[in-house]
Assembly symmetry: C2
Homo-oligomer: 339 residues x 2
């Protein structure tokens, strides 16, 4: 038996709409043997969905603990309110079960570090699912830069206007309306963007930022703007609003050219000019295939490592905390006295 | 005699190429009666240029002091290496002569404050020439926003790639190659951009930034990226490089639309859609006309006030000093201990 016996824990949007369609394409690698959810009827619905698509029905458990005790799973797929990630990861590892867990790793750095620490003390796989690390776009852009297509990169701007209205399904999620994780939508959605930027440019050294609340229905601050620097010296401006919608702007500036990304294509204007249409891709499928390689073939956990997930999250905690370090211009004008 | 008798002090690029063509159009308001420069032959060349264009020849003085003592000027036009602005402004005011002085006001906040203080203690006009405050583009954009065309403005991005090569005439200026003013090209050129943004959005509360040296011939750091906030709550990203050239990006995002600016036009996409071609304009002529109104008609010095010039400059000093207040992400990851 080469398949991973997988228990689905939490049956919300991510499980139903993101993970399940990927798992349907990976029947040679994963068998969904168990499912549980806070409300039993949602778990039963999910089990029916599995039966309809795959012809077999997973066992439905009343609690996460029963699922773990049952011996029916090699791994669990956690798609939960963020504040549950850490305790649920710990329980799985205690029971000798591998984990794939939706990003972000945790509510904040302090809690995320517990997972990183745990990952160094166990032979069980703790894989934080970040589909942007498996995304063609950012890996292709990194390749363009590695090929010196735009000379030495010096700057990246990414301004995103995601604009979620009141009826948006994510906005409707109860735990997102009263977020216990730092930054609300800013970190929940934002770790994707930082993961993408880190695919291209590596680790970030520092960030300074400002958050705003523009809407009155997104549970927390919904708009962020930052300046930051990668360890490599590349500088960035990342601005995002979940309150205001519109076309994103993504530009990388190098000493000898630029790379642009939009919804449909990557455009390179440098030592060569090239436009690449973005192919259809299921980044969640890529992610589960990678998780399978790590669990079954013992390959190193590079793209799902908790350390990287923590680094993505720490960008937001640093940006939010940076407001206490600002130089107010009026203060500077006052403190610099001519005599 | 209604004309202002004007002494030109310093005969570099700004005097010859920016101010003189404007003054040629304002012969009813200004008479260039005197000229001086560090090298006498440059002053004589300037005097000949005046004669060719206007039919009369100004007196050439060997020193600024002689020019001021001569009684031949009501005002001086200072176009000097930045570090000379403050002492030359003081000398003019001591001799009872009005001043129009090229931006930036001074080398740094500390020295600039001396000029602001002086301006409150004299009936002579001290006018810091900032032609961007007289520019159609930024005043028109402000009008669009005041008319609620894009709803409530929340963000502005301005990324500029000015890219000056070694042969550029400004780069060739000796004092710019060994700058004594804070920020080198960043503040010298940059006060224009901050003046423009302040025309649109008013005063800036704080800024956080990073500077870089990308070229090896621009005398100082040549690339800057920032995040900042206006007192109104609008947030901005301003990034500029004098080392890398290319198309600028200027976007204002509001709750109900956007405004874009490029080399040729202003584009509004909001509650109404409108494109305005940028008219030909001589912003230096506008500036001298305003200076004339202040000197001759006693109108308030709003667009040339030293306080505003100091605020423009302080943006750069604050951005440069902000690097000492950063949160390094590695430090944050270390300092946040789980137990």
């Amino acid at each position: 038996m080469h398949r991973v016996r997988l228990g689905i824990v939490g049956c919300g949007i991510a499980a139903r709409e993101l993970h399940f369609p990927a798992l349907v394409q990976l029947t040679d690698k994963f068998e969904i043997t168990a499912v549980t959810s806070r409300r039993r009827e949602r778990a039963e619905d999910f089990a029916s969905m599995v039966k309809d698509a795959l012809g077999y029905e997973p066992a439905v458990f009343d609690s996460y603990e029963e699922l773990l005790e049952s011996g029916s799973v090699d791994a669990v797929d956690l798609t939960l309110p963020i504040e549950l990630n850490v305790p649920f990861i710990f329980k799985a590892v205690e029971k000798g079960v591998h984990v794939i867990c939706e990003k972000p790793i945790s509510t904040d750095i302090e809690n995320g570090k517990k997972v990183v620490e745990l990952s160094t003390n166990t032979d069980k796989v703790i894989y934080i699912a970040e589909n942007y690390r498996h995304d063609f776009r950012f890996n292709k852009i990194r390749a363009f830069i590695d090929e010196n297509t735009i000379g030495r990169p010096i700057f990246v701007a990414w301004h995103l206007w995601i604009g979620m209205d009141k009826s948006n399904k994510y906005v409707q999620t109860e735990w997102r309306q009263r977020p216990k994780h730092i930054g609300g939508f800013l970190s929940d959605g934002g770790v994707h963007h930082i993961a993408a930027l880190r695919v291209i440019f590596g680790d970030i050294a520092w960030v300074s930022g400002v958050t705003k609340r523009v809407s009155d229905y997104l549970g927390d601050d919904d708009t962020l703007s930052t300046v930051f620097e990668f360890n490599s010296g590349v500088v960035g401006n990342y601005t995002v609003s979940y309150a205001v919608s519109g076309k994103q702007y993504f530009e990388i500036v190098g000493t000898d050219g630029r790379i642009y990304l939009d919804e449909e294509r990557i455009t390179v204007r440098g030592q060569r000019e090239e436009t690449i249409n973005i192919p259809n891709q299921n980044t969640f499928k890529n992610e589960f295939e990678d998780f399978y390689r790590v669990v079954k073939h013992g390959e190193p956990n590079i793209l799902g490592h908790p350390v990287d997930a923590l680094k993505d999250l720490s960008f937001f905690e640093a940006a939010i905390k940076s407001k206490d370090t600002r130089i107010e211009i009026e203060d500077l004008l006052r403190s610099t006295t001519p005599d």
